[in-house]
Every structure is written in C-alpha cells, then in structure tokens.
C-alpha cells in the first residue's frame, strides 16, 4: 500500500463511474479497433458477421463497448433481443457469447486496464446474455 491518498483522490476513485475510470470515449475508441478486429478474425463467430458492412457494424460495436464500460447508452433488453433474434435462429449460442466475452477481456488486457475494472466491465456485458440469446 503506497502513501496516504488525499480525501479527494479517495472519493474520486470510489465514486467516478466505471466509464470515466476506464478513460471515457477515448478508451472506447481505442478498444473498438482492437475488439472488433479480434471478433472478425475469429472463425468461431465471424460467420455471424458475414455480409455486414464493416464500418456500420463498427459503430454498433462502439455503442456496445460504451454500454459495457458503463457509459451513456440507450440500450434496452428488448433492443438486444430483437437485434440478435435472427442470429439465434441461425444457431447463436452460449459458446459464441463466451467467445465475444473472451475478446472483450483480451482487448482490455491489451490496453493495460487494471483487473478489477476488467471484471466490472465483464459483469456488465455478461448481464446481457439472456437477452442476446433470446432466453
């Protein structure tokens, strides 16, 4: 344990949102580039992105990462459900969700995000599993 933090610094570290602690939009931009490339390069899941416009999809990935990082977003459970319904019919299952979670974690590690923040973001992303898989 290092020397005493000031009260203000302690307060900030406890009360700044995860999104701010991760680095806000700058962090998301850096993450999207890495994250989406991992997803597209993964043969376990990239078939779900076939025929998709890469640029348009990247905007959606950015929105997803913003959400996963606890940032401002308009997602509802229904949105996630409808957006993935067709993919669920095409066979989307837990293994694919797990693969995406893997890439989220690996991306944050590449960006040197501290383990506890990775866990917080992972928990937020994990909370969408039932909606994404239409359960």
């Amino acid at each position: 344990m290092s020397e005493k933090q000031s009260m203000a610094a302690w307060w900030d570290s406890r009360h700044k949102s995860l999104y701010e602690r991760l680095g806000g939009e700058g962090a998301v931009d850096a993450a999207v580039d890495i994250f989406y490339r991992k997803v597209l390069g993964d043969d376990r899941i990239n078939r779900f992105f076939e025929g998709v416009d890469v640029q348009k999809q990247a905007a959606k990935q950015k929105a997803f990462l913003t959400f996963a990082f606890g940032g401002p977003n308009n997602y509802t459970g229904t949105d996630m459900r409808t957006a993935h319904a067709r993919l669920v019919q095409a066979g989307l299952d837990d293994s694919h969700f797990d693969a995406v979670m893997e890439h989220l974690g690996a991306t944050m590690q590449e960006l040197n995000v501290p383990g506890d923040l990775i866990a917080e973001a992972a928990a937020i992303a994990e909370s969408t599993r039932s909606d994404v898989l239409g359960r």
Binding site: L40, V54, A59, A63
Partner: protein, 324 residues
C-alpha cells in the same frame, strides 16, 4: 447571442442547447439517433463559421476538413450557417469540352462548369441526362493541374446514361451537374504516411485524381496503386501511370489481371488479393478502395483485419443503378 442559420431561418440556441435540440425546437426535422455523438446520424455541415472541435469527435479527417459536425453534441462558440450534407451540393450547367475514349469501354468526359465547383479529386458529381435521369461519376481531375473537370464513364450494358454519353453526347452540349459529394479524397497533413489504392475498372478515376493530388501536395510516403481488370483491355492510363512512377520514386503502380491471359509487366490475380499479398500489414496505412462493390466490401474487411484502422479506410463502391 449565438445564431444558427439553416436555410432561410435563424435560430438562437439556449445556453446548454445543442444544434440538434435547437433546430428541433424550431420545428426542423434533422435525422438523429443516439443523441450522444456515436452513431453519426445527425451529421451536418457548417457552410459558414467553424463548428467546435469537440462536435467533430469520431469523424473522419476529410469530414472534419469539410467542417462537418455532429448536431447532437454541437454547442457552437460562434455563429454558424448549417445544412445537411446532401443539401450543400449546388446544381450547375456544364459544357462538354472534350470526349475521349481511354479504352474500348471508358470515355473521358471533360466538363467546364458554368459556375466553377470547388471539389477535391476523388469526390463525385451527379451528371444529369434529363432532370430526372442522373448518375454519379467520380472526379479524376485535379484543380489547377487539369483545365477541366474529368470523369471516366464506363459503358454499362443497357446503360441509360453511360450509353447516351458514349453514343449521343457531343462536345459543345450542355449537361446538368450536381455536387461535389463524397469523402474519398486525399487529406493533407501527414505527408510521410503510406497510401494504398485499390481499384477495378473505372474505379481508377478517383484514384488517379487522389494520387496526383497527393503528389502535387508533396506527399513523400509510399503511394501504391493496384488497378485490376479481367483482361488487359479493361486497364487504361497505363502509359501515364508508368510515367508517374518514373517521375516520383515513392509512387508504385501494379496492373493486375484476374483472367487467363497475363501479358508481361502485369501481375496475375484480383487487385485486392495482389495488394494484400504485397503489403500484408496495413497498420498505419491510409487505404482508398474504388470500383466494384464486392471488391470494396471484401477489401474493406481484409484491410481492417490486416491492421488498418477503420477511420483510415476510404471506400467508394460503384453501385450500378438497377432501374430499367
């Protein structure tokens, strides 16, 4: 008090009000989505005044240069005149100054616009045969270097405008031109960065403009062009491009043939495949992709997977108008 002008009307945003909220409050319907600066649906352009830099977050360089901004996060610091991007294109009559076949299928059309339009090589204009019948063509000329605006028009089977351009249009005739539009152009500022340009067929038009624009602006980094066609007859400007390679040591031109007969000096394969084989890592490169929509789609994905940032991939897919 800051004012926003849109069309003929003036609006005064409240202290915390974004341009989007302000215009909507005044009854103007502006396309919007996330209202948080992510989705870019509310993209607008400032035709006078400068939008604040933080309202340009996430936009490609070329859009920033053109004073585009996101209305939902724009809190202007000075008076602005704004418009939706598609509203900023003027219509002007243009005289056909020259018609020249560059190969069996591709006609170079040289136009003199009655009202000069400010364009960047690689953008496109809409050319109208009749008020209701127009097509988009990319600009191959460079302002200052070419005396007229050049288009490369490929004859399409049953093409209602391309057929007319090849068979009926004559020099001296007047056509209507609207534009320019498009974000596929050279952005100065990093003269040492490597550029990769991949085109098929008349996709060479914008690339030819972009390359010469870059060289004229003193680009020093590598500029690599891969132009592909099924056969040698589909290529063109080969002499001019080879001359450019002699004049500029940083420019490289590879003609690619995807069909069976590969003449000497040409490389076998599709332009995108050849390019990605020659330059396997694209991290830090700026990429321009023009021509066949399938090539553009596939090359975008492959370039991204090869390490190029999505912000650096400029794609212009030449979609064929299917209306009979």
């Amino acid at each position: 008090m800051i004012t926003i002008r849109y069309g003929r009307r003036h609006f005064e945003p409240g202290p915390e009000e974004s341009v989007l909220d302000c215009l909507e409050r005044g009854g103007v319907a502006i396309p919007s989505g996330c209202r948080a600066g992510s989705c870019q649906t509310c993209l607008m352009k400032a035709t006078a005044g400068l939008p604040p830099a933080d309202a340009q977050r996430g936009l490609k360089d070329c859009l920033k240069l053109g004073n585009h901004f996101l209305a939902c996060i724009c809190h202007p610091t000075e008076n602005l005149e704004v418009a939706l991007p598609e509203e900023t294109q003027g219509v002007t009559p243009a005289t056909v100054k020259q018609l020249e076949l560059l190969n069996d299928d591709i006609m170079q059309v040289a136009l003199e616009c009655h009202q000069p339009i400010e364009y960047r090589p690689g953008q496109f204009i809409n050319l109208f045969r009749d008020p209701g019948l127009g097509r988009s063509y990319s600009i191959a000329s460079v302002p200052g270097a070419d005396s007229h605006l050049h288009l490369h028009v490929r004859r399409l089977p049953n093409g209602r405008v391309s057929g007319w351009i090849h068979d009926e249009l004559r020099t001296g005739q007047t056509v209507e031109v609207r534009g320019p539009a498009g974000d596929c152009f050279y952005v100065p500022g990093r003269p040492e960065r490597p550029l990769l340009l991949i085109g098929t067929g008349s996709g060479l038009a914008p690339l030819y403009g972009i390359i010469r624009d870059a060289l004229l602006r003193g680009h020093t980094g590598p500029i690599r062009l891969f132009h592909g066609s099924r056969n040698r007859g589909g290529l063109y400007l080969t002499g001019e491009l080879q001359e450019l390679t002699r004049q500029h040591s940083n420019f490289d031109y590879v003609p690619c043939i995807s069909g069976d007969e590969i003449p000497p000096g040409h490389v076998a394969g599709r332009a995108e495949a050849v390019a990605l084989k020659e330059v396997p890592s694209l991290k830090g490169w700026r990429i321009f992709l023009c021509g066949h929509p399938e090539m553009v789609r596939s090359a975008t994905r492959k370039a991204y997977l090869a390490g190029a940032s999505l912000q650096d991939i400029y794609a212009d897919a030449f979609n064929v108008n299917q209306a009979a």
